[in-house]
């Protein structure tokens, strides 16, 4: 073994580039585990070595734990960074590597399991004293008024055995609940073979706010502020910012303290995100889930606080000091990230692939671009549509919105349809400029714009 530790990068696209850069920063040697489609990619050229792990479709390469583990063994890797998506939150790869004595850049497998499903994650949150959404099972669908009062309105009636959005009814008052509960029970029997129901509080105008944590694995936590990711379409984040705008000091403290408590209970190791729903119509703050990985939107936090979270992940996995500072709850800058996807926002966000014939990025202070694409790059059809992340930092939110608007105008990507026109529209919208929009905001606003154009 040489003195230079090898980091196997088990991912592709912009996050592979990001991990390679972090490996270089700490003096390690990055090796890329690539599919056939990515063996000549910019990330492959940036790495010290490429190991082809399988065919182009992700289910024959990036999603195969044995193939990735085999590549780690062949590379002589000291650690494997899984990025986000793919195998990043699967205990399977983590455990295969453990058997080989190779470090996993992420939390322990038992942590991945504990937060991996909604039921056990909810229990962990309750144990940590973190606020969770009110929910109650219905014993008798003809006797529900007291349960409804307990939850509060509006609420959802859900079939316990339902799924994929089926078997859900929105109820706004006790009269509706009395009328709809027996119907829902009968339908659940017919549709799912089981009439069990539960009631859950419904938040129609809530924001998505998340807290960036970094645990030392012993129960201690660094908290790197919060992010607002409320500009979403069908639960896909489009724009993220740090800090979350317009949070009261009290709410911010509740979010950060709750996240710290979760890190402690889990003895969480490395970078993670605790997601919350923050209601705009009440004071409620509700725990959603823990994302036990580095997230797509981590750069807004890095830019706001001046840290390198990915390098810190690698250092911790190699048994080194992560070299992170203690920071206050609010960063000294405001940062906005725009996800540039290979999708046509004017055609129902349909993905497209092909050759990038011309590419020009904006330049200037506070502009960061995380991407794999370059002129002549053939954007492959096999994977998700994220092409690049445009990240803009300024001294406050108004300045950041203005700088982001200018930056978006100065991007040229020819050859593919992108989400850039959508970003230009949102950044200029008075609701976004005001800050604090709920996750339900984007869908109808974008539809209304389309109708106003036709």
């Amino acid at each position: 073994m040489s003195d230079v530790p090898v980091i196997l990068v088990a991912n592709r696209g912009e996050i592979a580039m990001r991990i390679i850069a972090a490996a270089r920063r700490i003096g390690a040697s990055p090796v890329l585990a690539a599919s056939v489609a990515d063996k000549d990619s910019p990330a492959a050229r940036a790495a010290d070595r490429v190991i082809v792990i399988g065919a182009s479709p992700a289910n024959q390469s990036y999603l195969k734990p044995e193939q990735v583990a085999q590549a780690a063994v062949m590379a002589g890797a000291a650690a494997v960074h899984p990025g986000y998506g793919f195998l990043s939150e699967q205990p399977a790869l983590c455990e295969l590597l453990e058997e080989e004595g190779i470090a996993w850049v992420g939390p322990r497998p038992e942590t991945l399991r504990a937060v991996g499903d909604k039921g056990s994650a909810r229990q962990v949150a309750i144990d940590a004293g973190v606020p969770v959404g009110a929910g109650v099972e219905i014993d008798d669908p003809t006797n529900v008024v007291a349960l409804g009062e307990q939850i509060g309105y509006p609420l959802l009636i859900k079939a316990i055995h339902g799924g994929g959005g089926r078997g859900i009814r929105l109820v706004t008052n006790p009269e509706e609940l009395v009328e709809l509960a027996p119907q829902a029970a009968a339908e659940a029997v017919a549709a799912f073979g089981n009439g069990a129901l539960y009631l859950e509080r419904y938040y129609g105008r809530a924001r998505h706010v998340e807290v960036q944590v970094f645990g030392d694995g012993e129960g201690n936590a660094w908290i790197f502020g919060d992010r607002d990711c409320s500009v979403q379409r069908r639960h896909q984040k489009l724009i993220e910012e740090c800090p979350a705008p317009g949070l009261s000091e009290k709410r911010r403290q509740l979010l950060h303290d709750s996240s710290r408590a979760l890190v402690k209970v889990l003895r969480y190791r490395g970078a993670g995100t605790v997601e919350f729903l923050v209601d705009t119509e009440s004071e409620d703050v509700i725990f959603l889930e823990v994302n036990a990985r580095i997230q797509v939107e981590h750069p807004v936090t890095e830019e706001a606080f001046g840290v390198d979270l990915v390098a810190a992940q690698l250092r911790l996995a190699l048994g080194l000091d992560p070299e992170l500072p203690d920071v206050g709850p609010v960063p000294p800058a405001a940062v906005i990230e725009m996800r540039i996807n290979a999708e046509d926002p004017n055609a129902d966000f349909q993905p497209n692939s092909g050759d990038i014939t011309r590419l020009v990025w904006p330049k200037g202070p506070g502009i960061r671009i995380d991407t794999q694409i370059e002129e002549g790059y053939r954007f492959p059809p096999f994977y998700d549509s994220l092409m690049a992340k445009l990240i803009v930092r300024a001294h406050n939110r108004d300045a950041a919105v203005a700088a982001a608007t200018a930056a978006v105008r100065n991007v040229t990507i020819d050859g593919l349809k992108t989400t850039l026109p959508m970003h230009a529209y949102v950044l200029a919208h008075p609701d976004f400029i005001a800050g604090g929009i709920p996750t339900s905001w984007f869908g109808p606003v974008w539809e209304a714009r389309k109708e106003s154009l036709t």
Partner: protein, 166 residues
């Protein structure tokens, strides 16, 4: 990346289509157009590649070598000679450690110069302690092994050359 899709790109398209719910697909890359279908009906012109089992048919805008399917460079060379003359290869279908013998000290599965059928085992690839028999995939005479016993191999790496005209 070149102007034309490589043969591997085409193979990847086929495997994508095979696993999808789509009946057909059409792809334009530069000045090369590729149409793939699981159903003969969409093609009214004869195609350059034959139908193999349940594989989708392919039709490409450039000369398609029919036998040298595993030679990625072949598609990019317009004047490619017949496949057998180039020497066909048997490629690793997975990443792992390649063994030519069923167990240490045993005789190799096959030796160069030996004739094999498509289902003849030519070696084993071990991936994370799982042993996978590797078959020739085509009939012919093995002319050489390109990796030695117990070598680590990557997906798609040529393991042996085979003369399919023999």
């Amino acid at each position: 990346m070149g102007e034309q899709p490589s043969w591997q790109d085409v193979l990847d398209l086929i495997s994508q289509l095979n696993e999808s719910d789509y009946e057909s697909a059409s792809v334009q890359v530069g000045d090369v157009s590729i149409r793939l279908s699981k159903n003969d009906a969409v093609f009214d012109a004869p195609t350059t590649a034959g139908r193999v089992g349940a594989q989708p048919r392919i039709e490409t805008g450039f000369d398609t070598p029919t036998a040298s399917a595993t030679q990625p460079a072949a598609a990019a060379i317009p004047t490619a000679a017949p496949a057998a003359a180039l020497g066909d290869t048997i490629d690793a279908p997975m990443i792992g450690v390649f063994y030519r013998r069923p167990s240490p000290g045993a005789a190799p599965f096959v030796e160069p110069g030996q004739r094999v059928e498509a289902d003849t085992t030519i070696g084993i690839i071990e991936i994370m302690k799982l042993m996978n028999p590797i078959v020739a995939g085509k009939a012919g005479v093995i002319t050489d092994f390109l990796v030695t016993d117990a070598d680590a191999v990557e997906f798609g790496q040529p393991l042996a050359t085979i003369d399919t005209s023999a």
